[in-house]
């Protein structure tokens, strides 16, 4: 299973609970041990952004990597058009809006029409999601996507803590230790960070 797929599966199966909103930390369990992710402090925000910028410049100087724009151009030469995907997405978004307006005006007494339109909306949203995922897969090899992915990895390393003898301590002492950490634990930490930052930033 691809790492991204594993992450999506983890996000879907997370145990959502009320404590997630009580403060800006989320606790979770892994192999009977307690862990938590928390919102980054200002200094950590700076650190992770600096790391991100350094990687961006490094990859930009490397001829083996392409920016999103260059990748889109390369795809075009292979007859894969990202702008077609964007156009398809916009067309579905317009259909979605019109269907929603139609649904909003249906009275409760017309249950059949309501159910049909709800089904139509779900189908349209699925189509839009399919297009988005296609685009994400195609662009995952761009410098921007790689840098964004690294941002979340580094963030997971910085803000994941483990409960030991009643104290919350940093889960991984170094980034190298994090990189060699258990894949599932790393995946869980990233999945919870995605939820913690939900709406502010999303990775998958």
């Amino acid at each position: 299973m691809e790492k991204k797929e594993m992450l999506q599966e983890l996000i879907q199966n997370l145990n959502l609970n009320e404590s997630m909103i009580r403060d800006n930390k989320i606790e979770f369990e892994y192999k009977k041990e307690k862990y938590r992710v928390r919102m980054p402090k200002a200094g950590e925000d700076l650190e992770v952004n600096e790391k991100k910028n350094t990687l961006y410049i490094k990859l930009l100087k490397d001829d083996n990597y392409l920016t999103e724009e260059q990748l889109i151009e390369t795809y075009k030469k292979k007859s894969i058009n990202i702008s077609d995907l964007n156009k398809q997405f916009e067309d579905w978004a317009e259909k979605l809006k019109n269907t929603q307006i139609e649904l909003a005006k249906i009275p409760d007494s017309n249950q059949e029409a309501i159910e049909n339109l709800i089904k139509k909306i779900v189908d349209i949203k699925d189509k839009m999601m399919e297009i988005s995922q296609k685009k994400v897969i195609l662009l995952q090899y761009s410098i921007e996507a790689k840098v964004e992915h690294y941002y979340y990895l580094y963030l997971a390393y910085l803000v994941t803590e483990k409960l030991e003898n009643g104290d919350w301590i940093k889960c991984w002492k170094t980034y190298e230790e994090f990189e060699n950490g258990e894949t599932e634990l790393v995946g869980l930490a990233i999945a919870w960070i995605t939820n913690l930052l939900y709406g502010v930033k999303q990775i998958v």
Partner: protein, 119 residues
């Protein structure tokens, strides 16, 4: 259940609605942290406010009722409709403003012409 569905379900509960409505007066804090709100907390606050406003308007709008509020797809549809209505209203107001301005300047022109003729 997606996180958005979960947050919305939580935000429309009587408990959180009451807490949100009385938080200021009773000096209650919605969250343990006052600063550095997480993404979930920001989204949750948005839905608390939105549901609060919807509950207030429930008797004023023909398209709004408790069944709509409790169904995310139907509620999204309702919110899109309202957004479109507001957009149309704004456009109409802007059109009316231009029309009024044009009428005013036309009045000025005819007034000037009248005085010029008189002189």
């Amino acid at each position: 259940m997606s996180i958005e569905t979960y947050i919305r379900k939580l935000a429309r509960t009587t408990y959180y609605q009451l807490l949100y409505q009385n938080a200021k007066e009773l000096r209650l804090s919605l969250f343990e942290n006052k600063l550095n709100l997480s993404g979930i907390q920001i989204i949750f606050t948005y839905w608390l406010r939105t549901y609060g406003q919807l509950y207030e308007n429930i008797t004023l709008d023909e398209y709004l009722n408790i069944k709509v509020i409790n169904n995310d797809i139907r509620l999204d549809a309702y919110l899109v409709l309202k957004k479109e209505e507001r957009k149309k209203e704004k456009l109409e107001m802007a059109r009316q403003k231009i029309k009024d301005k044009l009428n005013k300047s036309m009045d000025n022109v005819s007034e000037t012409t009248f005085y010029q003729k008189k002189v």
